[in-house]
């Protein structure tokens, strides 16, 4: 509908332009801070601190990034940028994969098996939806201390992997699988494990991708729990390190390094979204059956 005539079509074209303008505005509002972070990471700290904010890339990009990777950051926190990125990746992956494993297993049990208290289990899981980690943080912390999991990867990952949301999503998806498919598999001789591996898992892949993206970002951006459960800098995530780099006095903060670290903190989630976008959207929109 790209005609340029009078009447309703013209009106539609102008309202379309207005809509676009509005969306572009929205994108600018959302994207500008990110744009500024990227720009700032290419300027020296002095330039960043001196108003007005430069809006074009500066000349310090190479030296800033080189400095960040070759010890500038370890000088402050005692751990290298690589270590921080590694920690965060490990935790985000652990949380995403762990959540998928646990929520798929529980959804599988709830949907495909008949056992006593099945619906009770479902409701118990459902109710925990309403409890964010902050609510159960004190007892969880105690458990982690008792288990000696402070300052360990399991301590960082385990409390975060039970997910009512993902369980619910998988349950909804599993319930759309035609019952006959399960019966056909039973007649073909597939037991519960084979049915899961050969049929349910391949059919769930797009959903898995969508949930992976969401949970990877959730894990990547965790702040409160890693802050609590880690004492040594060695176990810091990039988000925690970022916080620690910022001191109260503006002048004491190496803003150029902070900006570089911010860019590096933003990048992996963006990459995950970009690379898994096709699957992600498919998983949210369609169910392939």
């Amino acid at each position: 509908m790209a005609e340029t005539s009078d009447g309703p079509l013209a009106a539609r074209a102008s309202s379309k332009a207005l809509a676009h303008l509005w969306m572009i505005l929205g994108v600018i509002v959302v994207a500008f801070p990110i744009y500024y972070v990227v720009i700032a990471s290419t300027h020296s700290t002095q330039t960043i601190l001196r108003p007005p904010l430069p809006l074009l890339p500066g000349a310090e990009a190479y030296s800033n990034y080189k400095n960040a990777f070759s010890g500038g950051i370890s000088k402050m926190g005692g751990v290298s940028l690589w270590r921080l990125l590694g920690n965060t990746t490990l935790i985000a992956l652990g949380i995403a994969i762990g959540k998928i494993a646990i929520s798929m297993a529980s959804a599988y049990a709830i949907v495909f098996f008949r056992f006593p208290l099945r619906m009770v289990c479902f409701w118990v899981i459902f109710i925990t939806l309403m409890l964010p980690i902050e609510v159960r943080i004190q007892p969880t912390y105690k458990v982690m201390v008792d288990l000696g999991l402070i300052d360990t990867y399991p301590g960082l990952i385990l409390p975060l992997i039970a997910s009512a949301t993902a369980t619910l999503l998988f349950r909804q998806f599993f319930m759309t699988i035609p019952h006959e498919l399960l019966e056909a598999a039973r007649v073909d001789g597939a037991g519960p494990w084979r049915f899961f591996k050969d049929i349910l898992w391949p059919l769930s892949l797009t959903n898995v991708a969508a949930i992976f993206v969401i949970q990877f970002i959730y894990g990547w951006t965790q702040y409160l729990w890693p802050l609590l459960v880690t004492n040594s800098n060695e176990m810091n995530t990039i988000v925690i390190a970022l916080k620690k780099m910022i001191s109260f006095a503006d002048a004491d903060t190496p803003w150029s390094l902070v900006m570089v670290t911010s860019v590096l903190a933003i990048l992996p989630p963006i990459l995950v979204v970009v690379f898994m976008q096709r699957w992600f959207v498919k998983g949210l929109v369609e169910t392939e059956k």
């Binding site: 035609p178 019966e183 056909a184 039973r186 073909d188 597939a190 049929i199 059919l203």
Partner: protein, 352 residues
Amino acid sequence: MAHILLKELRKSYAGQEVIHGVSMDIADGEFVVIVGPSGCGKSTLLRMVAGLEGITAGTIEIGGRVVNDLEPRDRDIAMVFQNYALYPHMSVRENMAYGLKISKMPKPEIEQRVARAATMLELEPYLDRKPRALSGGQRQRVAMGRALVREPSALLLDEPLSNLDAKLRVQMRLQIKDMHLRTGQTTLYVTHDQVEAMTLADRLIVMNKGIAEQIATPSEVYRTPASEFVAGFIGSPAMNIFTIRAEAGTAILPGGHRLAIAGIPASGEVRLGLRPEDLEVTDADTASIPIDLRSVEHLGADAFGYGVIVGSDILLTLRLPGTSTAQRGDRLNVAPFPGRLHLFSIETGKRI
């Protein structure tokens, strides 16, 4: 290939009995069709044989072995589902091979069997396609193929043709019949379509509300229906059935017409069944039923007349020759062929 024995099978859902004791002895290689109206328990019965539904009471034997507590995979059966239930992410080849792969059959043999089934079902060009890229008829054939490659003791089919259009249904019906003749597989086939039932079956189970009303060959079911339900369900157009009164050995029809009927009780009321093709137009005399024609449908070779018995509101369907000139408003006298009448008890509905 095996002989299947159903003994007093019962099924209840939450205390509600839906199958009320069905017994049948199915010979090796026999093609048995379970037919009945929707909701009468056909699928439930079939699924009990398959092992997909538990058995509340009774026993099922397949090949001389009681299978009541066996999983479907241990019963040596294969099943074709109404909506085919193909695995959407697997190619046609993988769909057919899946059961064999699970049973750890050597690869070359799997390939051989799949190839043979694909040839028989004309599926070779589609072996690498996903079900999504197939037409309804092709999907149906894949479902058949998936069941056939297993070479099971018993083949179970639940309304396998009901999702196809009329033309394809006829074609697949012939193919199923042909395949049965070739493989000689013991087959249990569920349908609500009496044409499928009559043409495919060696024997029929006519079900009604969870009861097997009659178990017999198609021609027996047609000629000597065991109950009023069977009489009304099998045959198209349906049998004319109405109540008559017996008086000293003669029948008083609605409208007061008298008719001599052999085998009628001395007195009381019974139900009389007359197939449309068992009524003959005669000259007016005492041994006939006068009817006023309401309409005539010409189908070419045949015509069907619809009329009411004079003096009543009982509608009769009768078959007329295609050349008949009878028309709406005519009064005809029709007489039943002797020996082609059906009498049913009013109380039990059973054949007298």
